[in-house]
Symmetry: C2
Subunit: 439 residues, 2 copies
Amino acid sequence: MKNKVEARTLKGFRDLLPQEALIKTRMLNVLRSVFESFGFAPIETPHLEYSEVLLDEHSGEISKQVFRFRDQGDRDVCLRYDLTVPFARFSVEHKAKLNFPFKRYAIGNVFRGEQPQLGRYREFTQCDFDIVGPTAGPADAEIVQVIVAALDALKVTNYQVRINNRKLMNGLALAAGIPSEQTPDLLRVVDKYDKIGRAGVIQQLKEELSLAEAPASQILDFCELKSSSTNELLEQASKFANKHELIALGLDELNNLVIALSALPNLKQKVVLDFSIARGLGYYTGCVYETRLLDLPQLGSVCSGGRYDNLTANFTKDALPGVGASVGLDRLLAGLIELKLVTPQTSPSQILCANFDASVLPQVYKIASELRSAGLNVEVFPETGKLKKQIPYAEKQGINWVLIIGSDEISRGVYLLKDLNTGTQHELNSIEEIGQLVS
Amino acid sequence: MKNKVEARTLKGFRDLLPQEALIKTRMLNVLRSVFESFGFAPIETPHLEYSEVLLDEHSGEISKQVFRFRDQGDRDVCLRYDLTVPFARFSVEHKAKLNFPFKRYAIGNVFRGEQPQLGRYREFTQCDFDIVGPTAGPADAEIVQVIVAALDALKVTNYQVRINNRKLMNGLALAAGIPSEQTPDLLRVVDKYDKIGRAGVIQQLKEELSLAEAPASQILDFCELKSSSTNELLEQASKFANKHELIALGLDELNNLVIALSALPNLKQKVVLDFSIARGLGYYTGCVYETRLLDLPQLGSVCSGGRYDNLTANFTKDALPGVGASVGLDRLLAGLIELKLVTPQTSPSQILCANFDASVLPQVYKIASELRSAGLNVEVFPETGKLKKQIPYAEKQGINWVLIIGSDEISRGVYLLKDLNTGTQHELNSIEEIGQLVS
């Protein structure tokens, strides 16, 4: 007899058992409907791409994390590490077949060989939605609406979408004399505001960017502008508009965004401007978004994105601007479980049809089929045997209703439905009655 | 300016544009609901596994096709080439947390570096559903019901599920003196029956398995048993039952299967016994299934599967029997497009809200949001501009309805809805009226 292999998942990877996979599947269904309800169409790109397509000299940290190898034809290939770069390649390759403005969503797994840590895995699911073609304007406002619609549809409560505009920070940087190639460093430091506070950020700006006290303070003064009224906040910010034309432009874009959303009352409490939002990614050039669960702020953003001037710079000289965001599904799922906003469930079944008498099995299948046609999830125990083995199965699976059909019930034309929660047995006369009781 | 990279997909791989991705997404939603309506729960396993988990000395042809490499930690890893072997690993690794009988479905992409050919790609989607735990009996009958429910729900018409039992062929082989290690060769030859006919199969059985004329003929006589009545067919087959006990056992299993399904009238025309079905895979030991679109037989099987004695032999000495099948989604999608049973669609949107007057954009967003709450897919053109640019966009996207809201309509409290198909403009008074017209 040959040696057995140890049954183990690859280091850094994980399985999803039904408890989590059922919730995740439902969340993905909800996201797909929301994206499509806004006219976003799905696309799919391969999990594997040529390395030269995914990586360039700016890839930096990512190129160390990427799963890269040579395929059977000795081609240099990578597993995708996000859905954005493949989308850029896709937009150029199929340009002639796409109608612009082009709105696509993509849901898929991406791979990064990061050091495994609690709740972080080397394979995770991204849910991206983007509008490419239009420059700043209504498209930016639409992304905010999709984020809110998605979280509302997922029954997430007490969250906040925070919006900023990258032009503001870029303008402040230029006004402070920071060369534009250092803007990413500025963003990185400002991004720590929540953790190290005003004094810490100023300290690091002085040390790492050689900023003087005055311009560093001015950047912090701007980031710290606060008001419960969006219009008042924009009013306060307008005092900085004369520091650099980019600041004026960024405020103008934010102002238009606020106006565009002004007739949507349900957004009022959920969407705020926040000038301290940096979003680390260097390629954003306009609006940036992030989304926090207010009851679990330490989770970080569960839906982030922004506007970029040019998606396709690596592939073509024709610039393709766009705006989009991505739901961090694995993180959101972990948050919703933590907050008990979703209930893990072991089985999708609502009813277990007991199977203890082979002679009536054909009738049991027929009844189960009729119940499914009535919209119920119904399973028949897949072995004929004793009822006392099947009830515990239903209990362990969290299936509350057991339909007991023997020759007696068949001959009397009734359905015996046991409620495992209460122990009550209901004698019912039709499929409709079962549906009413169970649903 | 740095050199541009050519935007191209990896050799053997492909993208799905919205036209196909929309249909595929809907088909997957339908399959998920059907699987769950029978109580199958989703699970997910990683795309990457240790090579020793996926490959063994029996992997043969597959090991040449698999994408295998060393990860950052120098671990020998493979991209999965099916969902069955990972499921076996999963069943052993999580055994203590699963309730048996365990019913799982899994939908995911798998990778095989086959020579690319028309309609065959190196990455494709599998949709597997299996019941593990029970031995032959009701579980086998349930798989048939799931196949029929899935194809019916996908609106596939004129298909046939063909069922056989591997014990019959194994028994015939043993009765003919073919050693059991040669049974796979026998199956491979018999599988060519549709292509090379009786004489061709007999010829090859003689040449490749050194069979004499009489036993070869006998095997063919059995494969060719035909009757429009299942019971009559079983009656004919019963004459072979005394050749080997496996034949008697296989016929018994088929007989029980037929009885179990006997009260489901909608299965009558769709499910047949066919003793010529071999299903190449060596590990099947009982029922085998395949499914043909009768209007496109050359497509091959779109849903196949069977019963196996032991899923987990590579990992543990505890045998885990099961039965399952897999929908070949890419092949089925290609077939449905070919047969015009699905209509490719470029956009999920039903209505385009024109966007030509920035001052009313907030109201347009509000109306679009109300239409979405009424269950419609509605997009707002993501740039404010001339109507004459937006109508052609709607036409190209196949969106038939354009909602035109200007300050005049707002002040009059009406909605102007243009039917691009007829050119008619409807003046409507409520969201409900729009919903009724469009749906």
